[in-house]
């Protein structure tokens, strides 16, 4: 199947409908909604928001791997978020005004608790976890917390000449 977008995203069977997506699993529109949702969970201040730090990249990538099992939940949940938003203000979450977004996400957290809790958890993982999985760009959250980067502090002053090493 000719399913590889110009950006190099890899497509697997059955995904031709979103072969123009910049993302590995999500459609562009889904990714925008997810970004808006994640940015309510970790908003921008002196430090980047969730999506600015790569949380959507993290979640999208995991949906091709260990979080494959959550694909249906993401598709349904993102749809619900947009539906709530359209009901509140006539547009999808990503197009809503910032104050509106917070209301929509609070409503989502109440009505679709399970989905919201999952996104909350995954957003935190993407933001505070290792950059190697696509989130926490440039280890920004670790620096925000005042941690050394790279974090293996001991390595710097370890004398490998002691003992045989390994």
């Amino acid at each position: 199947m000719a399913g590889t977008a110009a950006t190099g995203a890899v497509c697997i069977t059955g995904c031709s409908w979103r072969n123009s997506s910049r993302w590995e699993f999500l459609s562009n529109a889904q990714a925008e909604t997810l970004a808006a949702l994640a940015d309510q969970i970790i908003p921008e201040d002196d430090f980047p928001s969730a999506s600015q730090a790569g949380v959507v990249v993290y979640i999208d990538r995991q949906l091709m791997g260990p979080y494959r099992r959550h694909r249906g939940a993401y598709q349904g949940g993102i749809e619900s978020a947009d539906q709530i938003s359209r009901k509140f203000c006539g547009v999808a979450l990503a197009q809503a005004r910032p104050t509106m977004r917070q209301e929509v996400v609070s409503a989502l957290a109440e009505r679709f608790r399970e989905f919201f809790e999952m996104v909350r958890e995954h957003t935190m993982e993407g933001y505070y976890g290792s950059p190697r999985h696509g989130g926490n760009r440039d280890a920004v959250s670790w620096r925000m917390l005042g941690l050394k980067e790279p974090p293996l502090r001991g390595r710097a002053h370890y004398d490998l000449s002691k003992g045989r090493g390994s």
């Binding site: 925000m144 005042g146 390595r155 390994s166």
Partner: protein
């Protein structure tokens, strides 16, 4: 395939030691391990995929696909769980077993821990019992584990430990920041803090260098190989004898029996997925408590229709782990110094002797604090998301201390492993089904322990504290799993003899945490190692009398 003297199932803490002891005594040994051998070069410090935080999977196995278990909750609802789900109750699947990635706390149980029923009486509805062996029987083997595998620490300030013949072979690591905060506070409370004994090199030992104090320790492999497990001590030694062959990615599925009720060897799936047999004079099961019970239950034959060793429906019962409780303390100054392994200070004042409580547990500071762990450990009342949460992460990440400990569980016969009637693993074998909980008194003890941790943190200057004592809905027996093949003298009430030999079958041994009658108020690995040395010595004695040769 050539017949050997012994097949050992599982190259973890216990299996590695048994392999080395038997091979050194001249027996030919095949050591089967379902996982691969990771080396320090494979060591990748990944905070989302390790053996403790497993949101993206287990770093050291089992993999998520093909190896489910079934767990039954308090309401009797069964569900299928994958290995990286905490309800699965995983330890590990690799050479070294749990000891490749463990925290390496190296505790001896206390003398009372082997005599719980005599000391306290068994609470109604519990299956609390005395061990058929005592601390004194194990002391020489604790010593052997401490010296051969390698333990650092200093017991001098602790007045509660059982008698010891000599000091530990290595001194403790120097103090970290949390030690400096917690140690004087404990002394002011009249308690007896001391350095946690650790299966970790503080100085060069066993031809390997010391810990570089990286703090990504518990749940990770050590990239400088300073953490001592079976994979970097006894297993290489076993192989060096020339008498032991390690077969990796080989999963035992059944113990084979002959018509006289003797084991003939083991059937296993090899690394190419083919079914093989390895014949042997003796079979040693060291697959960690849950899988050891499962292998026995899956070994059905004409003489043993309910599984091996299970004539009296004892295999799989009394499943135990620990009930972890404690407290979080929040400080108005930095407590964080990023110096590994993190956990440094413990006290055993609360293991025994509180009126009204059947035991207790050790308390210690927690190993590790990665940002991902802080997300749900912010002060009570902190918003769970949004600007307030992000702000609190910045405010508290470097200013908290966790003190907690493994409350000794009061066992029940209903907390158990059986075979699931429907679900099978990718090789077609019925999977473990886990159900039941420890005795309710366990949770009373845990609640008291949490308050004690809180008091310690308050004395240390915590400006807020939060208790960590949520009550689990099912048995908590993952990393510290034990108890499924009880050791005892009565064949109707236990599975193995005091020498870890099946009551039912002379040439099958279960040697790992399965045989624990009760599980102490301590992390179990050093006791599992001591039992492995102890039971190997008995096996070798029996072997020299050629008792098991067919």
């Amino acid at each position: 395939m050539n017949r050997v003297n012994a097949v050992i199932v599982g190259a973890g803490a216990a299996g590695g030691i048994v392999a080395k002891q038997l091979a050194a005594a001249g027996l030919s040994v095949v050591l089967l391990e379902r996982g691969p051998w990771y080396t320090p070069a494979d060591c990748r410090k990944d905070d989302l995929r390790n053996q403790r935080t497993t949101v993206l999977g287990n770093a050291f196995g089992p993999e998520d696909l093909g190896f489910p278990r079934v767990v039954v909750d308090a309401g009797g609802v069964a569900r299928i769980v994958r290995p990286s789900d905490s309800a699965y109750q995983n330890n590990a699947a690799c050479v070294g077993g749990g000891t490749l990635s463990y925290g390496a706390q190296a505790w001896r149980y206390m003398p009372q821990d082997f005599r719980m029923k005599s000391v306290y009486g068994a609470p109604a509805g519990s299956s609390l019992e005395d061990w058929p062996i005592g601390y004194g029987d194990l002391e020489p083997f604790y010593d052997q584990a401490e010296y051969e595998i390698g333990v650092s620490g200093d017991y001098a300030p602790d007045p509660f430990h059982g008698p010891r013949k000599r000091r530990l072979p290595m001194p403790p690591l120097p103090a970290n920041r949390e030690w400096e905060i917690l140690e004087p506070a404990a002394r002011r409370l009249g308690l007896h803090p001391f350095a946690i004994p650790m299966l970790r090199n503080s100085v060069p030992y066993n031809d390997r260098g010391p810990c570089m104090r990286c703090r990504w320790c518990v749940g990770f492999a050590c990239e400088v190989d300073a953490k001592n497990g079976s994979q970097n001590t006894v297993i290489p030694q076993a192989l060096a004898t020339g008498n032991c062959e390690l077969r990796m990615r080989c999963t035992a599925t059944e113990i084979l029996m002959d018509e006289r009720g003797h084991a003939r060897g083991v059937e296993y799936i090899n690394e190419d997925g083919r079914r093989e047999q390895q014949l042997s004079d003796v079979v040693v099961v060291s697959a960690c408590a849950i899988e050891s019970a499962r292998l026995l239950l899956n070994s059905k034959s004409r003489l043993f229709p309910n599984g091996l060793g299970n004539r009296y429906d004892q295999v799989g019962r009394h499943l135990q782990g620990h009930y972890y409780t404690g407290a979080l303390g929040y400080f108005d100054h930095d407590t964080y110094d990023d110096v590994g392994p993190g956990a440094s200070i413990a006290l055993c004042d609360y293991n025994h002797g509180t009126p009204g409580l059947c035991g207790g547990g050790m308390l210690a500071n927690e190993f590790i604090r990665l940002p991902i762990h802080m997300i749900d450990r912010l002060p009570p009342g902190t918003p769970r998301w949004g600007q307030g949460h992000k702000q609190a992460m910045r405010e508290w990440h470097r200013r908290t201390i966790v003190v907690m400990g493994p409350t000794q569980q009061i066992p029940t016969a209903e907390a158990r492993v059986t075979l699931d009637p429907a679900v099978r693993d990718k090789w077609g074998a019925p999977v473990a089904r886990i159900q039941g909980n420890s005795h309710p008194h366990t949770f009373e003890i845990g609640a008291v322990q949490a308050k004690r941790a809180q008091a310690w943190l308050q004395e240390a200057g915590a400006i807020h504290t939060a208790l960590m004592n949520s009550r689990p809905q099912m048995i908590s027996a993952g990393q510290h799993q034990a108890g499924t093949c009880r050791m005892g003298n009565d064949p109707r009430a236990s599975v193995v003899t005091p020498n870890c030999q099946l009551h039912d079958v002379e040439n099958v041994f279960v040697i790992d945490g399965s045989v624990h009658v009760s599980n102490g108020g301590f992390n179990p690995a050093l006791t599992i190692m001591a039992i492995a040395y102890y039971a190997s010595a008995a096996l070798v004695r029996g072997w020299k009398g050629t008792r098991y040769r067919s």
